[in-house]
């Protein structure tokens, strides 16, 4: 399991209800179900991935988060997880509002557009950055709304969203983001992981 999922699973307490948005092949769900006795559900737009999940005994619904989230009642999950997908939505703000409505707490991870390699790529080459985390060209990337760790924090502040935890990942190393090191982390982290409500 990738490091990001390890971090996310450590945030999630045992025996809680979890909804994984864009759950893919269900790797995180499987781990949470088997090791932390979490009651897990998933939402995934790709048919073949949904079928994979159902085969593993995971309850996953085929559907698009931008349309499907309204059906879930308020605070019906202890945690809603959205891993590296926020930037791919047409209306990320609306999706985030839904996540906060459905979950008591929400875990969001974002690829950091403020990472130094991204900045350097744009500065030196003058073309849209391509990195390990952002492998696509501008014309075929699913990412419509890229943001930086700083952007996301500003956004939460503006919307009065409480950030309970903020961590970052760089080369598989995990560390905490604080007010003091924010500027630094915004340059040297590849991924931001936030627990919000």
């Amino acid at each position: 399991m990738k490091k990001e999922f390890e971090v996310i699973s450590q945030i999630i307490q045992n025996n809680k209800r979890v909804l994984d948005i864009g759950c893919g092949d269900g790797t995180l769900m499987e781990y949470l179900k088997a090791n932390q006795q979490n009651d897990v559900r998933g939402l995934e737009p790709e048919k073949y991935l949904v079928q994979k999940c159902i085969s593993k005994g995971l309850s996953v619904i085929e559907g698009d988060a931008e349309k499907e989230l309204v059906q879930f009642p308020e605070k019906s999950f202890d945690y809603v997880v959205l891993s590296q997908t926020l930037q791919a939505f047409l209306h990320p703000e609306e999706v985030l509002d839904q996540l906060l409505r459905i979950g008591r707490q929400t875990i969001v991870s974002i690829p950091n557009f403020g990472y130094w390699k991204v900045r350097l790529h744009l500065l030196i080459k003058g073309t849209m950055p391509i990195t390990k985390n952002l492998p696509n060209e501008w014309y075929n990337t699913p990412n419509l709304h890229m943001c930086t760790i700083q952007d996301f924090v500003n956004f939460c502040n503006k919307k009065n969203i409480t950030i309970d935890k903020s961590m970052c990942l760089t080369n598989e190393k995990i560390s905490a983001i604080t007010k003091v090191n924010m500027q630094y982390k915004n340059i040297f982290s590849q991924l931001g992981i936030f627990l919000i409500q």
Partner: protein, 374 residues
């Protein structure tokens, strides 16, 4: 009892059952079939509900029609619903014509065929009758309930009536309440039967009407694309158009054949009763307009399946079930299977579909047996 079906398995239900129409029936037969063996812990039983024109003979050769069972693609040795592993039970529905209490049976009070004197039955009546069969077989909790089309409606009704009787439920290509379009199509079939002059004559059957009903219904089971690919504008004889009303096109001939063979195995009055039961099905209304209340107490794990080209029970109607289940926090998975074969997809060899059922069932089976070991 009609003579054709006297040698098949039947349970005589000696309790009384109050039907939704208000009538009380007692001492009535329910014909059924089982496949595979019930294990010691009685934890491997799957109740399959059949659709409008199905019967209890799910797989192998149907002893009455001598044709393959209606779900041979999915049920049998080594199939998705593997009878090596699972104990499969299926009953002919109330109102059916394969040995269960229905219009084709003799009314013991008059010694005449019931015909249209048979009481109008509902999906809920059908399901309640099958609960007696489970009691008779000593099955307290099923591994799964499943069925497509009207079979799926019975799945939904079953979990709503008996929220703790099935570990899992697989409703396929169905709806929680019959749509206006589907009622309209059923009415077309019923009218075709009822305008046949033979319908009201004693000792004769409205074969023409029933055949037309079947032809119309058969179109609704396919998709436009499927029809186009299979038949296109192909002519029956290689030559040219006949400039007549004979079956020039292959699709015409195909439909005529479907109609003609159907009347040999199905009773016209059963067709009236069962389509009526489908039309009356409205699970949402049973719960004052809130479908999620139907599933409020359910303990079952759901796998809802629809097909992309099914316009009779389209994905959107299947999704309403999923939405209602989510609204009450039930355990539900959903997938729409890509298929050009229309509503009939659930009866056909659609590998992705069969794989999904197979793996969902084995994961449920394993979960139950692991729990027991702990």
């Amino acid at each position: 009892m009609n003579s054709e079906t006297k040698n098949i398995k039947k349970l005589n239900i000696d309790q009384s059952l109050e039907l939704d129409c208000g009538k009380i029936i007692k001492n009535f037969p329910l014909a059924y079939e089982t496949y595979g063996a019930l294990n010691k812990s009685k934890s491997n039983a799957i109740l399959v509900f059949h659709a409008l024109t199905g019967d209890q003979f799910v797989t192998n050769i149907n002893p009455i029609t001598k044709r393959e069972g209606w779900w041979t693609t999915a049920v049998g040795l080594g199939k998705a619903i593997d009878t090596n592993k699972y104990f499969v039970v299926c009953a002919n529905v109330l109102g059916g014509c394969m040995g269960s209490y229905g219009p084709k049976e003799i009314n013991p009070e008059t010694n005449k065929l019931f015909g249209t004197t048979f009481p109008v039955i509902t999906i809920r009546d059908m399901v309640k009758a099958q609960k007696y069969l489970l009691d008779h077989l000593g099955i307290k909790k099923l591994l799964a309930v499943t069925g497509g089309s009207m079979g799926g409606m019975q799945v939904l009704q079953f979990v709503s009536l008996y929220p703790d009787m099935a570990h899992s439920a697989i409703p396929i290509a169905c709806s929680a309440s019959h749509s206006a379009q589907n009622i309209a199509l059923n009415e077309l079939g019923r009218q075709a039967i009822m305008v046949d002059p033979n319908w009201k004559k004693e000792n004769s059957t409205p074969d023409k009407g029933l055949a037309i009903a079947r032809m119309a219904a058969h179109i609704t089971y396919l998709s436009k694309k499927g029809l186009q690919e299979k038949f296109g504008r192909k002519l029956q004889d290689k030559g040219s158009l006949k400039f007549s009303f004979d079956a020039d096109f292959q699709i015409e001939s195909y439909l005529r054949y479907q109609g003609a063979t159907f009347v040999d195995r199905f009773d016209a009055n059963s067709y009236l009763y069962i389509t009526r039961a489908m039309d009356y099905f409205d699970l949402e209304k049973q719960f004052s307009g809130n479908l999620s209340l139907a599933f409020k107490n359910t303990k079952s794990k759901f796998c809802v399946i629809s097909f992309s080209s099914d316009w009779l029970y389209p994905t959107v109607e299947n999704k309403e079930i999923v939405i209602a289940l989510n609204a009450c926090g039930a355990n539900v998975g959903f997938v729409e299977i890509n298929s050009d074969k229309g509503h009939d997809s659930f009866l056909l060899d659609v590998p992705e579909f069969l794989k999904t059922i197979s793996e969902f069932l084995s994961s449920t089976y394993n979960e139950i047996n692991n729990e027991k070991r702990i």
